[in-house]
């Protein structure tokens, strides 16, 4: 059963009716690979990619609102002229390959709990994004880290509908290390957003690490350690090397766990240099 929903209300109704047998079908770039992961497809899907409300990006004075079914390609092109969102434009515009970016959605990237290498998750964590989750009975706003904790147990019938990102004067950057130059999953991801004064001293820092552990998270000890300092990429990398012991890399066939952790200082150096524009 494959229902192509024309509107948000019909999608929420269908998901509510299908219950645990149903799921949202966004870009399909994760779902269609279920056979390769030896997973079963759901009995019923509700395609959400043609719902106008979910495919819109609204750029306001204080926030930007991104519909959950916005593709990576559409998001990257909408953000191209907004330097404060460099981190998100890079996450959406450089991940996977061009054809996948034209299909895969931001909502699918955030909602897939088994996917540790998602680029938009750390990017949105460092931008302090909120998510909106809707069902027939209403809408709820929650912080992205709260959504990440809940997503695998999200009740049937609930849909991620929107991502809301505050605007700021911070500088941001996304550094990722795939095994090939492009096209495959990153071993580790550093997304950061730094507010620096005119002498490049750090007033506020948000740094998120993806793909190293099972779920992306903020690196709060490093954020605190950088506060008040003059930002220097080499020094930031040294501090990161001292603190990196708090990460236990996840196991996988591609690389051993320690390798994911060992590349973090280098990625911190690259990301801080990129944020400084050096």
């Amino acid at each position: 059963m494959f229902y192509i929903a024309p509107s948000l209300a019909t999608a929420l109704d269908a998901l509510g009716d299908y219950g645990p047998e149903g799921a949202a079908f966004a870009g399909g770039t994760w779902i269609m690979r279920a056979p390769i992961r030896h997973q079963l497809l759901k009995a019923r899907y509700v395609a959400i990619g043609k719902i106008p409300e979910l495919t819109e990006i609204r750029i306001g004075a204080d926030t930007i609102e991104i519909g959950a079914a916005v593709t990576h390609a559409a998001l990257a092109s909408a953000l191209a002229d907004l330097p404060e969102f460099t981190v998100l434009a890079a996450a959406a515009g450089r991940s996977a390959n061009p054809a996948i970016r034209g299909l895969a959605t931001i909502g699918g990237n955030l909602a897939t709990s088994d996917f540790s290498a998602a680029d938009c998750v750390p990017a949105l964590l460092c931008l302090d994004a909120q998510t909106e989750v809707s069902s027939r009975s209403g809408r709820e706003r929650m912080r992205l880290d709260t959504f990440l904790k809940q997503r695998s147990t999200l009740a049937p019938g609930r849909l991620l509908t929107k991502v809301v990102v505050p605007r700021s004067r911070a500088k941001s950057a996304h550094a990722r290390l795939p095994l090939r130059k492009a096209g495959d999953y990153p071993v580790a991801i550093v997304s950061l957003s730094l507010d620096v004064d005119t002498t490049n001293h750090v007033r506020a820092a948000r740094i998120a690490i993806g793909s190293v552990e099972t779920v992306a998270r903020r690196w709060e000890r490093l954020e605190t350690a950088l506060l008040g300092r003059a930002l220097d990429p080499a020094q930031a990398a040294d501090i990161a090397a001292d603190l990196a012991g708090e990460f236990a890399g996840r196991d996988s066939v591609e690389v051993p766990p320690w390798y994911r952790v060992s590349v973090l200082p280098g990625l911190i150096r690259r990301a801080t240099a990129a944020a400084l524009g050096t």
């Binding site: 059963m1 494959f2 192509i4 079908f25 870009g27 399909g28 770039t29 269609m32 690979r33 056979p35 390769i36 497809l41 899907y45 395609a47 990619g49 996977a96 390959n97 061009p98 054809a99 996948i100 034209g102 299909l103 130059k181 492009a182 096209g183 495959d184």
Partner: protein
């Protein structure tokens, strides 16, 4: 339920399950075997077809979502037995080896030629990051693309 598709300008009907990957319907029902299911993961690009002019890995597109779109496979690019500019350039540059990746390469590069007439070597390489070739090392494919762009 019968699904109706427009493939290379022809209207076709399919009785496949709606979540069947488009590539399987193209090959098994319509006998258009240009697109190849190699990885079935979106990594290799051998199954690439144009859906409303956009290169799309047909292994990841459920046939139900392809309804109402203009689907074009490598078989439908040239007309009347003539090669397209990129096909001719790839042949002239002797870029093809085993040919497994080529239907997908041609589809991606057809889109590049139509949308990025000024593409540089680096942009061509970036455009091909979802088309894996095991044989050629890519350089002749990129050279052929540059020569096709120069002719236009």
């Amino acid at each position: 339920m019968v699904l109706t598709l427009t493939v290379n300008g022809d209207h076709r009907a399919s009785v496949a399950d709606p979540v069947t990957p488009l590539v399987d319907v193209l090959r098994e029902e319509f006998h258009l075997t240009g697109a190849k299911p190699v990885c079935r993961e979106g990594f290799c690009g051998a199954c690439m077809v144009l859906v409303n002019d956009k290169p799309t890995p047909s292994c990841l597109m459920p046939v139900a979502l392809a309804q109402g779109s203009d689907i074009r496979t490598v078989e439908g690019l040239g007309s009347g037995g003539t090669l397209t500019a990129i096909q001719a350039a790839l042949e002239a540059c002797d870029a093809v080896q085993c040919g497994m990746c080529f239907p997908g390469m041609v589809v991606t590069l057809t889109h590049l030629l139509a949308t990025s007439p000024e593409a540089t070597r680096d942009e061509i390489r970036a455009a091909l990051s979802g088309n894996i070739c095991r044989c050629t090392g890519y350089e002749r494919i990129v050279d052929a693309t540059l020569s096709a762009l120069a002719v236009k």
